[in-house]
């Protein structure tokens, strides 16, 4: 297929043969050596997909920024925004020593069960009517938020929103 307007050459029209496959193997070798899949990415994906149900909504990472260092010494804080079709989740993760405090907001607001999976732990809380939730003493580790449907929804509307996994 020529994209320059020139007619395709005989070489372009030839079927892919063993030499072509060997060349593609060389290209594969080049990129496998120079730009490999990062260590741990598969494990992070396995963690993230563990509890995803059929029809769940996936919330992608929209922004992830460290807040300006405050005057409070050892505290470090970071704001992470996730976005799905129906819900925006913003969390502020403040590190104090060995644990993290997570302040979260849901938009649109609503009282919904919230789960934070972190490592082997599965922490649960509820967002209030204003969509706010707090989880204190969260350990560091790979973390994923699952915002369940508001109680009393018919099963077909009971979709959870699942975020991608990020390191807390």
């Amino acid at each position: 297929m020529s994209m320059t307007g020139e007619p395709p050459s005989a070489a372009e029209l030839g079927p892919i043969d063993a030499v072509d496959l060997a060349i593609l193997d060389l290209v594969e070798d080049l990129y496998t050596a120079r730009d490999p899949v990062p260590d741990g990415l598969l494990e992070r994906i396995f963690f993230a997909i563990e509890l995803v149900g059929l029809e769940d909504e996936v919330a992608r990472l929209e922004a992830d920024r460290f807040d300006r260092a405050g005057v409070r010494g050892t505290e470090r804080s970071r704001t992470v925004t996730f976005d799905s079709e129906s819900l925006t989740i913003v969390i502020q993760a403040t590190t104090t020593g060995a644990t993290v405090r997570v302040d979260g907001w849901l938009a649109p607001p609503g009282a919904r069960p919230v789960r934070l999976r972190v490592g082997e732990r599965d922490l649960r809380t509820e967002a209030d009517q204003l969509g706010r939730f707090v989880l204190a003493d969260v350990p560091h580790g790979l973390a994923q938020l699952i915002v369940e449907a508001p109680p009393g929804q018919p099963p077909e509307a009971a979709r959870s929103v699942v975020t991608m996994a990020v390191m807390l």
Partner: protein, 218 residues
């Protein structure tokens, strides 16, 4: 459905290598069939099969995202997000080809979206094809492998960026999927597979004209 045209091979490569490549093509075909079986089992709820699919296709998706110009962190996020989305709609995927096509299209779209979103603050690192020694390889093999890589890198550098990007992704794909992956990347039909197409023809021309080709790839 192997299209290997043994008779059309010129004296480019000796018979032993040709046979090795034929075996390789057969392996690629068998892999595609294996993927179909894994897909059925994953849809029935088997975690191990789902993990095997993720392990098998993540390198392809990684190179789609990186080929779209994303930095390491963004590429990781995009690949992870696309897998999450896939699992949420797994039962709707009917064939391995549909699976691969959906994933590649989703990574490409998601990569565009991330690149457009200026507010994302994760750092994008410039792609560097610098040398990283593999300590497991014997020194002599390493030198040869490295020379081969430099030759291939230089040859890819003489292609258009779009062609180099296509070949980078195709190199991680199963052969029956070349055409559908090229289309999922927005390339015109017939860009690659079953015919060689312009990009692969050009790379082959550049490589086989390289004086090192015969010594490095006997």
């Amino acid at each position: 459905m192997t299209h290997l045209a043994e008779g059309k091979l010129s004296a480019d490569r000796p018979a032993a290598t040709r046979q090795a490549a034929t075996r390789q093509a057969a392996t690629r075909q068998a892999e595609a069939e294996r993927l179909g079986r894994l897909l059925l089992r994953a849809q029935a709820g088997d975690r191990g099969s789902l993990h095997a699919i993720v392990a098998e296709l993540t390198p392809l998706l990684w190179h789609v995202a990186r080929g779209q110009g994303l930095g390491h962190d963004d590429a990781e996020d995009v690949v992870q997000t696309v897998w999450l989305s896939l699992v949420a709609r797994l039962v709707a995927i009917e064939t391995p080809a549909a699976l691969t096509g959906w994933l590649v299209t989703a990574v490409r779209r998601e990569s565009w979206r991330v690149r457009r979103a200026g507010e994302r603050t994760r750092s994008a690192d410039a792609e560097e094809l610098e040398h990283r020694a593999d300590p497991a390889e014997p020194a002599e093999e390493q030198v040869l492998a490295e020379e081969r890589r430099v030759m291939v890198r230089d040859a890819l550098g003489r292609l258009t960026p779009r062609c180099a990007q296509l070949l980078r992704v195709i190199a991680f794909a199963d052969r029956p999927d070349y055409d559908l992956i090229a289309q999922a990347l927005g390339m015109p039909r017939g860009s690659i597979g079953p015919t060689r197409g312009r990009c692969l023809a050009k790379l082959r021309e550049v490589l086989t004209a390289d004086p090192h080709w015969r010594t490095l790839c006997p």
